[in-house]
């Protein structure tokens, strides 16, 4: 039994550590300008009692009082309509938020407010009545409210109604039985939609989510019981509510202000927002790493301790810092990172914010860049003979000067360049991402770029073999300006240095022509459309010959028939036979006309007419012939 217990404990520990390692941090939060914008939206002049309520109460949630409180108070008093529960609610809540603004209500009004608390009113009406009574300092029967709310929740099972019920319950006496209503927080939280593990919100929208958050924390604080929301869920709610930085309506802005106030000042959860001031970059000129560590309303957590748990180099995985605290100055937490003399590159910081047990998302990962300035040392240029018979002559050039004499290299020689790149302050050798050698022919505008590579001792070498590289240069000889280009994300001073001029002589030179820059945007040659060529036909003579040839058997047929003695002496000249022959001839003629002029439909039409006539006539004629033959044979 004890073995099971210990293995369970170990797996639980591993699980908790795993959770801790992947804790969510807010990706959407309000910055100072957003809070100012929210305040500006809520400070708009009042149009009616409802907008006055949103403005006054919203600003009080942000910790700001309304501009002219006397003006606001008289506006509220002037616009309150004692017969409307809603108006009384707005007036009561708004006057509560303004100091020394009191509204007096008559006994009838008070009774109507009490009457509104019943199972027959909607949750919204109950909420407004209870809030008004509470803000006006009038007594109310909490247990009646609870039972009315319970009855209404079962009938109105939507998110907005239950949120209002939670908000109402937070105004009741602590002795009332609020347990069942408290359970609604968990049920509502289950209805939230998880979007990609980043957002948690109701499908009803931003306002509903924000009002839920403020109601849930209001009730939880009232009964002093932690709301059933996990830390990751709280951060996801923060992402949802504060992802929108400009608000469509006053009610939306009010709901965001409510939620922000609830999340920055409740007894259980306090989400922390850690962000770097400007880009997270340090260098010798700016050695301080500065962080904003604030709550969701962008107020610095002055009482917190901010600590670097570990800072490791991304490239070498070496730990530079461990358990180093930040110092607070003017609301910003600072650390002099350059004091630890880090090499240039990227560092992964693991920052912890402690000091308050309510803090949520208080472990943050940050990527910090350390920049430096590069210095170019020992730039040596030389022209080396390929057969190495003549000794090399090395010229040293100091940055940023240009080599005085030009270097001449023809096809028997190589041009060579060596140099070192070091950190200006520490002298450590650097290997930046971009080290290019550019040769630019000023006359033709041609440029060729090569890469200079470091050897094992971090000494950069560049060699130009004139004969080998002639294709890159198009064999155009002349004076080329040699530039060295050095760049990297961690360099503060990228370098473009005209080191010297190099005269290159290529063998087999063609007549130098200015390089045509490839202009892609000139009109292209026009394409002529080629119509389909008609097929080749045989010569007309051949066709005519064969036509005659093909028709010739007809002559043969006539001759044969003549020889056989076929005749038309039996032709009867009866009307049907005449009609038949005429019709038949007409059909053959129709075939010809079809070939030359008509289409199938017309032909079929004519054929139907002529054909039926011919058929009838032919039928008659053949019948007569049959009778004749029959009588002849049976005589």
């Amino acid at each position: 039994k004890s073995q099971h217990g210990s293995s369970g404990l170990v797996s639980l520990l591993v699980f908790v550590l795993a959770l801790e390692a992947q804790a969510l941090t807010p990706s959407h939060y309000l910055v100072a300008s957003d809070v100012d914008r929210l305040q500006a939206v809520l400070s708009q002049p009042f149009t009616d009692l409802k907008s006055a309520y949103f403005s006054v109460v919203g600003l009080s949630k942000l910790g700001v009082s309304v501009a002219d409180s006397n003006d606001a108070c008289s506006f509220i008093k002037a616009n309150v309509d004692s017969s409307s529960i809603e108006a009384l609610f707005y007036a009561a809540e708004a006057s509560q938020a303004i100091s020394s603004c009191e509204i007096h209500v008559s006994n009838e009004t008070r009774d109507s407010l009490h009457a509104a608390v019943s199972e027959d009113s909607t949750v919204s009406q109950i909420h407004q009545a209870v809030s008004a009574l509470s803000s006006l300092g009038l007594p109310l029967a909490s247990q009646e409210v609870v039972s009315a709310l319970k009855a209404r929740i079962s009938k109105e099972d939507n998110v907005v109604a239950i949120t209002l019920a939670l908000q109402t319950a937070s105004r009741l006496s602590q002795q009332a039985e609020l347990g069942e209503i408290l359970e609604e927080i968990e049920d509502l939280a289950a209805r939230l939609d998880d979007l990609g593990g980043v957002y948690l919100q109701f499908e009803e929208g931003l306002e509903a989510t924000a009002l839920f958050v403020s109601a849930a924390y209001a009730l939880s604080d009232h009964v002093d019981m932690e709301p059933p929301l996990k830390e990751d869920q709280v951060i996801q709610l923060v992402n949802s509510i504060f992802s929108k930085k400009s608000w469509d309506s006053l009610s939306e802005a009010f709901s965001v202000a409510s939620a922000a106030a609830a999340l920055s000042n409740n007894r259980f959860h306090k989400p922390v927002v850690v962000s770097a001031v400007g880009p997270a970059t340090v260098s010798h000129s700016h050695p301080l790493l500065q962080l904003h560590v604030t709550d969701v309303l962008c107020q610095p957590l002055s009482s917190a301790n901010v600590l670097v748990e570990s800072a490791t180099s991304v490239a070498s995985k070496a730990a530079i810092l461990s358990q180093t605290p930040f110092t607070l100055r003017d609301g910003i937490f600072e650390l002099n990172f350059m004091a630890s003399k880090p090499a240039s590159g990227y560092y992964q910081f693991s920052v912890a914010v402690t000091g308050d047990s309510r803090l949520v998302a208080n472990h943050v990962e940050l990527k910090v860049k350390v920049s430096t300035k590069v210095a170019i040392n020992n730039m040596d240029l030389s022209v080396v003979d390929k057969d190495q018979s003549i000794g090399t002559k090395t010229t040293r050039v100091e940055y940023p000067n240009k080599g005085k004499a030009s270097f001449i290299a023809d096809s028997h020689q190589n041009f060579a360049m060596t140099f070192q790149l070091v950190d200006e302050t520490t002298g450590v050798e650097l290997t930046p991402h971009q080290t290019f050698v550019r040769l630019h022919n000023q006359k033709t505008g041609q440029e060729v770029v090569f890469v200079a590579e470091p050897d094992s001792k971090n000494l950069y070498k560049f060699e130009l073999d004139t004969a080998e590289r002639k294709t890159e240069f198009d064999s155009i000889s002349g004076t080329y300006a040699l530039y060295l280009m050095v760049g990297d994300a961690t360099l503060e001073n990228p370098v473009l240095w005209n080191v010297a001029d190099v005269v290159l002589k290529f063998p087999d030179e063609e007549a130098p022509s200015t390089v045509q820059s490839k202009n892609l945007y000139v009109p292209k040659p026009e394409i002529q459309h080629l119509f389909r060529e008609p097929e080749k036909r045989p010569p007309t003579v051949l066709s005519n010959t064969f036509t005659a040839l093909v028709l010739s058997p007809f002559l043969l047929l006539l001759i044969l028939w003549f020889k056989l003695g076929a005749n038309i002496s039996n032709f009867s000249f009866s009307p049907s036979s005449v009609l038949f022959h005429v019709g038949h001839a007409a059909m053959l003629g129709l075939m010809y006309v079809y070939w030359t002029h008509l289409n199938m439909f017309q032909t079929l039409k004519y054929l139907a007419i002529i054909g039926s006539l011919t058929f009838l006539a032919g039928n008659r004629m053949l019948a007569q012939k049959a009778v004749k033959r029959y009588s002849l044979h049976h005589l």
């Binding site: 045989p538 040839l549 007809f554 043969l556 056989l564 053959l588």
Partner: protein, 113 residues
């Protein structure tokens, strides 16, 4: 060898001339005409090429179809075959021949282009 072939052929021709009625000989002459026409069309196609192919097909199929229909007519009007064609009189055969030709010509003219 060749002499026996010639003697067979001459014998055949003699028999043909004597035993075939004139009416059938008329139809046979017609058959020969159709045959020659078709053969000449085919020869042209072999020599010159198939362009235009649809015309060649139309003409050739027309000849073949006519030949077949004429053979049917010959079979049907031959009095020696009367036993097999009790219900078909020669007039009826001829009427069928004409009707079939109408359809054949219609299709051929449609296809010749």
């Amino acid at each position: 060898m060749s002499s026996s072939v010639i003697s067979v052929i001459s014998r055949f021709l003699e028999e043909y001339n004597s035993s075939t009625s004139t009416k059938l000989k008329v139809v046979d002459a017609y058959l020969l005409y159709i045959l020659l026409t078709g053969a000449l069309q085919f020869l042209y196609c072999l020599l010159v090429g198939t362009f235009p192919f649809n015309s060649f097909l139309s003409g050739f199929i027309s000849c073949v179809g006519s030949f077949i229909l004429a053979v049917c007519l010959r079979i049907q009007i031959n009095p020696q075959n009367k036993a097999e064609f009790l219900s078909t009189s020669p007039e009826r055969a001829f009427a069928d021949f004409l009707f079939a030709h109408t359809v054949l010509h219609l299709v051929a003219i449609n296809f010749v282009g």
